[in-house]
């Protein structure tokens, strides 16, 4: 018998994610009510609407483009975390690997004036190196990957600030403008910008990120390599017993995850949309929001695409709230709440299974009763 859509695992994940979003938003709304009851409804609507607050269709299209530009790196970080999580590792170092990618691609572009492809590859390599460190420490020294990841995040942050000081403007803490000093390193647009009201920041990064998501899906679910990695994640000892090189798999996973984060950095910084501030005092939030996107996407690469867009959508929407009453961090609060609620997903799914099982039982009982009634 074909299982109905309503009882499938996918539907349950989707429903659980939607519950997380609704409850997260609701708590965010309550917080806004506490701060200032007058504008709370407007503010939460602004967060949800994001670029729809503009009345002109052309400017909407333009700001939709901007949101997409920032979705691409977020999606890459989310994929990085997802890839590692499928192998039983929590890659909280994605932020640091992302930061290393920023450092590599900006320095290569602004100092050595490399083209866009070498810069992109260097960013990937930089992410891979730091992913590799975490993997080596985990495989050979049994260091918890969360703690080593966090330590590396801070080391990389200070290192990036130090290195990128070499390519910063003399009067401000920001690195040189890409459009002046590193034009050759800008990702090609292939006319995609035209679709978004000539938004110069829309580049091949966006379709590339989606292709990577599909690639991650194929590798994890359709290849022997992905199966081996997942088997290692389920049970390291069993994998070893079956003749898999469990240490190699572990390190390889983190190397790939690191590469994905590093690629994300190049997808944002090589569009010239943002510059690095050399006095940054906290690790970029990209990797942490990536965690939200991963779990909200139900740990599915395709779901992650939509979840990343949603997270970026509300993060960008937070910038439009009325600053005289609220602050833009309200969207950070909501995404943090969503991650917290994602912890309950397992419980929710269990509850859903229980409810539907009860209903089936009841139906079966009723059917039995009516069948009996017919026989009499």
């Amino acid at each position: 018998m074909k299982k109905s859509f309503w009882k499938s695992e996918g539907f349950k994940s989707l429903l659980a994610s939607l519950i997380c979003i609704v409850v997260g938003m609701l708590i965010g709304y309550i917080v806004l009510l506490f701060i200032n009851p007058k504008g709370a409804s407007d503010a939460i609507l602004t967060v949800v609407k994001n670029f729809f607050t503009y009345s002109k269709a052309t400017s909407r299209m333009k700001y939709f483009g901007n949101t997409l530009v920032k979705t691409a790196p977020l999606l890459m970080c989310a994929l990085s975390i997802l890839f590692a999580y499928k192998v039983g590792l929590f890659n909280i170092g994605a932020s640091g690997q992302y930061c290393a990618g920023v450092c590599a691609c900006l320095y290569a572009a602004l100092k050595w004036h490399w083209g866009w492809l070498p810069c992109l590859l260097l960013a990937i390599a930089a992410g891979m190196v730091f992913g590799c460190i975490v993997g080596l420490l985990k495989a050979y020294c049994n260091v918890n990957e969360v703690i080593s990841g966090i330590m590396l995040n801070w080391i990389i942050l200070y290192g990036t600030n130090m290195i990128l000081t070499g390519v910063k403007e003399t009067t401000s803490p920001y690195t040189f403008e890409m459009r002046n000093e590193g034009v050759q390193a800008l990702l090609p647009s292939l006319g995609l910008g035209k679709l978004f009201n000539s938004n110069i920041y829309v580049t091949i990064a966006i379709p590339l990120a989606i292709i990577m998501a599909i690639l991650v899906y194929i590798v994890l679910d359709k290849t022997k390599f992905g199966f081996e990695l997942k088997a290692t994640g389920f049970n390291k000892n069993a994998a070893k017993y079956c003749g898999m090189a469990e240490k190699k798999n572990l390190i390889l996973t983190l190397v790939i995850a690191g590469g994905l984060s590093g690629m994300g950095a190049s997808f944002l910084y090589q569009t010239g949309f943002v510059q690095w501030e050399c006095t940054t005092s906290s690790v970029p939030g990209m990797g942490f929001n990536g965690i939200a996107a991963t779990f909200l996407g139900g740990l599915n690469p395709i779901g992650t695409i939509f979840a990343s867009y949603f997270i970026q959508h509300i993060t960008a929407g937070g910038a439009y709230v009325d600053k005289t009453m609220y602050c833009s961090q309200i969207s950070d609060l909501i995404s943090a709440l969503i991650i917290y609620l994602c912890g309950f997903v397992l419980f929710m799914k269990m509850a859903m299974t229980r409810i539907s099982a009860k209903r089936d039982e009841k139906k079966a009982l009723e059917k039995e009763l009516t069948d009996k009634g017919g026989n009499d």
């Binding site: 918890n144 966090i150 330590m151 600053k323 950070d332 943090a336 994602c342």
Partner: protein
């Protein structure tokens, strides 16, 4: 040199308090990765108390109220972790990470809201506490003695006594080693884990306010606590989950953290001409190296990180 000792002692106090918190939680079987968020929340509680209390009131009461506020915030916040991880069997890594992000975001939103309500032009997330801070300090010559140094020492002694000399402590540790066995002799595992997490909330909250009072007299809540919660976890692992060894390893880590504050005062260090960023990196690099050497023979509680399920054996 005196300055280096002073900073070492105060930073080690922070690390000791928070690491002991982590130690209690892990001995009960729950990995508390949310210590960073708990520190932020504890710091927020203390800083808010200092903002609203009259600085003219007797120093003793002021200190007590600030500490109590930090403890209350820390414990309340840690109960979010306890509910999710103990009762709902959520993944402890995800929830801990969520708490870290939530802590910084919530503190920023709250402080900004308060600042903007007081003065519409003020959109910063900073709280100042120059006057109340002095109540925590006693100047002995040029050495600034901070009451938290005493609190940290007391906490180490108390933790040692509680864990190894009381029925409660031994039962707590049993729940982290083999909860099914503990349950079979009538110990309520859920209750024990809840108390472990709440104690970590109390100590984490204290550590948070201690960190805020360590060097500066105003705090920008957008910055969080710069990975200190995780440094404390590294201290805990290096200390092999034992209170006395935790205190000693906190001294080591504290010294490196202090160096990044005061390296400029040393002639020979300045002569080396190493950029300040390197000193900032030092505590994290050291902890990575130390972890690499001390993790392979880890004495971690056997059942940490695994939600307790009565039906499993």
């Amino acid at each position: 040199m005196l300055l280096l000792i002073q900073y070492t002692l105060i930073f080690s106090s922070v690390l000791t308090l928070v690491a002991l918190g982590g130690c209690f939680s892990e001995h009960s079987g729950v990995i508390n990765l949310g210590l960073e968020g708990i520190m932020v929340m504890g710091g927020l509680g203390g800083a808010l108390a200092m903002r609203y209390l009259n600085p003219a009131m007797p120093g003793f009461f002021l200190v007590i109220i600030v500490l109590l506020c930090a403890i209350a915030f820390g414990a309340l916040y840690s109960s979010l972790l306890a509910v999710a991880c103990i009762n709902f069997k959520a993944d402890q890594t995800i929830v801990g990470t969520a708490l870290n992000m939530l802590g910084t975001a919530a503190a920023t939103v709250i402080v900004k809201a308060i600042n903007t309500a007081a003065n519409p032009d003020d959109v910063s997330s900073t709280i100042q506490y120059i006057e109340p801070k002095k109540k925590f300090l006693v100047n002995i010559g040029s050495f600034e003695f901070n009451w938290f140094m005493v609190i940290a020492v007391l906490a180490v002694v108390a933790a040692y006594l509680i864990l190894y000399k009381t029925r409660f402590g031994l039962r707590l540790m049993a729940c982290g080693e083999h909860p099914q066995a503990a349950d079979s002799v009538g110990i309520n595992v859920f209750k024990m884990r809840w108390s472990g997490v709440l104690i970590s909330g109390v100590l984490g909250g204290l550590g948070g306010i201690c960190y805020l009072l360590a060097g500066v007299s105003e705090w920008k809540f957008e910055n969080g606590v710069a990975g200190f919660g995780f440094l404390a976890l590294a201290v805990m692992i290096f200390g092999q989950w034992k209170p006395t060894r935790i205190a000693l390893s906190a001294l080591l880590f504290g010294a490196f953290r202090a160096l990044s504050n005061v390296y400029f005062g040393f002639e020979f260090l300045r002569g080396l001409n190493i950029p300040g960023s390197v000193y900032n990196m030092m505590p994290y690099i050291i902890s990575l190296v130390v972890l690499a050497f001390s993790s392979s023979h880890s004495r971690a509680p056997k059942s940490e990180g695994i939600p307790y399920d009565k039906s499993q054996r």
